[in-house]
């Protein structure tokens, strides 16, 4: 399932305000430091309000990154909240061999049929239920990050968990850290492609 992370990988996250997508993008960037990679994580600033569709972005590379413009043709798109797909074309500008990772309980073939996305690889994971089970609330960001790490092979599950322990451990109570680790672990295992 691993994708080539040599060269420059551009990622776009789709979510709604308040679902933690910006945190996930930043965490991904920090995690890539473990692999001695170069990175950017940046949100698209507009009128920030809870529940409105938002986008944020990552650039990852084994080489120094010097482009400071927006990302319009991402290789990877992560859909944190499937309901944004009703109003936002999440595949916009994607490369033909791009990867879509969607939070949904449908399998990849079904979601392809429902969305009409042609080409591209589709992966799905039920991050909503994973987060409800693990955290007791709808916070699908870390499970989606787990799915992304699994699909890209950017970081092993063990390294990702160790990172969460040390990084989240400084900011959140132990219970929140533990629950997020469970959520990441499950999504890492359960994400499936067609």
């Amino acid at each position: 399932m691993a994708v080539d992370i040599q060269g420059l990988t551009e990622i776009r996250w789709h979510a709604r305000g308040g679902q933690g997508a910006v945190t996930a993008a930043k965490t991904l960037a920090e995690m890539s430091l473990v692999r001695d990679m170069f990175f950017q994580a940046f949100p698209e600033y507009g009128p920030e309000r809870m529940g409105a569709p938002i986008r944020c972005f990552n650039r990852l590379s084994t080489n120094k990154i010097s482009t400071y413009c927006g990302i319009t043709n991402p290789q990877i798109v992560v859909v944190v909240d499937p309901t944004v797909m009703e109003t936002v074309d999440v595949a916009e500008g994607m490369k033909e061999d791009g990867i879509l990772i969607i939070n949904t309980h449908y399998d990849p073939a079904t979601i392809r049929k429902k969305t009409g996305v042609e080409g591209k690889k589709i992966y799905t994971v039920d991050a909503t239920h994973i987060s409800l089970d693990a955290l007791g609330r709808f916070m699908p960001n870390i499970p989606m990050l787990g799915a992304l790490l699994s699909v890209t092979g950017l970081l092993s599950k063990e390294d990702a968990i160790e990172f969460l322990k040390s990084s989240f451990g400084k900011k959140f109570p132990q219970k929140v850290v533990d629950n997020n680790i469970v959520a990441l672990d499950r999504a890492y295992e359960e994400v499936k492609g067609e």
Partner: protein, 399 residues
């Protein structure tokens, strides 16, 4: 699990600047929030609250007060800092001239954001360009690393006995201020040694040497001479900026000059640009050069004072130059501030390139690689044909 190096960090531009301020450990910081600068003073306030610095933090009620407090603090012999953006810088207006006129060293990161109207919180350089003639030194940064490095060097430049002028460190709003980037930090002890202890020439608190600062100086005083000397200090700043940049390079492996040239020696035409766009331009210039296109570029770091002599030397052999300006002068066809300065600087040169201006990115409008390529391709046409079709161009308009 291996974390690359302990000094390799993932920081936003604002966090990088706040870290530099923490390591500088100024005597006084005046704090007032404004987007997109807020996280600088917010982060620094946290360091104060956590007891990580000895700084006297002054929470003020406006930017006008922030700069007033800095003027007071610097007059009292303190090493002082504040940070601002956009409307905040505009509100400091009259004080900016007082800080430089009193020859008070201080460092102020300004996160570049446009000025309203229409209301807009995003990046362009019109805020600091508006303060172009206020007698401050302007250092532009491409990314978080440079914002950090510039903040540290600004202390030394500002306090140099031959300069003694306030310095603005500029970084692009949101694009750099709110983007998480990889950067290298220095050890606290290294910074402490580099910035050393501020030795003010005069201090209001020095009771043994009573001093009057900011006295009235009318028709029969020395106002004119003060101003002439301010200009002399700006001229002195060229060498100081270079010396400090060289010393910083020996310390860190990241040397700084007044600008950074790329591929100019064998280029026939080149782009000159400030701030974060320089990174994207360099990317495109590298791509074009790999296809054998004779293009080069200059990333201007020092905008005030304007390094005219070095720029003339760097570009006079070129057939054509495109200046990218992220602000306009509204002068009715004269172009952006960097364009007008460079054009004026080249007036006496026997050999000089044809010049075109591209105004871009106002109010945060994106500058993608495709637009840079479009401008570069038009520039190649200018170089080949020897003719400028359109002198002032607006890159990426929707109209």
């Amino acid at each position: 699990m291996v974390i690359a190096k302990s000094n390799t960090l993932a920081l936003q531009g604002t966090e990088a600047v706040a870290l530099a301020m923490k390591q500088i450990n100024p005597d006084m910081v005046a704090a007032y929030p404004i987007t997109p600068q807020t996280e600088i003073v917010q982060g620094f306030s946290q360091f104060v609250a956590d007891g990580e610095v000895d700084t006297h933090l002054v929470n003020v009620e406006s930017e006008h007060s922030a700069m007033s407090a800095c003027i007071g603090g610097a007059s009292a012999g303190g090493r002082v800092m504040t940070a601002t953006s956009s409307q905040g810088l505009a509100l400091m207006w009259e004080l900016l001239y007082i800080a430089s006129g009193l020859r008070l060293p201080m460092v102020m990161p300004n996160v570049n954001r446009t000025l309203s109207a229409p209301i807009n919180i995003h990046c362009d350089h019109s805020d600091s360009m508006g303060a172009r003639d206020a007698g401050w030194i302007h250092l532009f940064s491409e990314n978080a690393q440079e914002a950090y490095d510039n903040t540290l060097q600004a202390v030394r430049i500002s306090e140099h006995p031959q300069v003694r002028l306030p310095v603005m460190v500029l970084l692009d709003g949101f694009i750099i201020s709110h983007s998480l980037d990889r950067m290298e930090s220095l050890e606290d002890s290294t910074v402490k040694e580099f910035v050393d202890v501020f030795k003010p020439e005069f201090s209001l608190l020095d009771a043994k040497t009573p001093t009057c600062i900011g006295a009235f100086d009318g028709l029969y005083g020395y106002f004119f001479e003060f101003k002439r000397q301010q200009e002399e200090a700006m001229r002195n700043a060229f060498q100081v900026v270079k010396d400090v940049g060289k010393e910083y390079g020996e310390l860190t492996g990241r040397p700084y000059g007044v600008f950074e040239a790329f591929g100019l020696e064998d280029a026939e035409f080149a782009i000159i640009v400030l701030g974060s766009a320089a990174g994207t331009v360099r990317h495109e210039v590298e791509c074009m050069r790999s296809r054998g296109i004779p293009i080069g570029m200059i990333k201007l770091r020092l905008f005030r004072p304007f390094p005219a002599n070095e720029l003339i030397e760097a570009v006079s052999h070129l057939k054509a130059v495109a200046v990218f300006d992220r602000s306009d002068t509204f002068a009715g066809g004269m172009g952006g501030p960097v364009f007008t300065d460079l054009r004026s600087a080249l007036y006496e040169s026997e050999k000089k390139p044809l010049m075109v201006n591209y105004i871009y990115g106002l109010g945060g409008r994106d500058l993608p690689v495709e637009l840079i390529n479009k401008a570069a391709t038009e520039l190649e046409q200018v170089a080949q044909s020897g003719q400028v079709k359109e002198k002032i161009n607006y890159l990426g308009l929707k109209e």
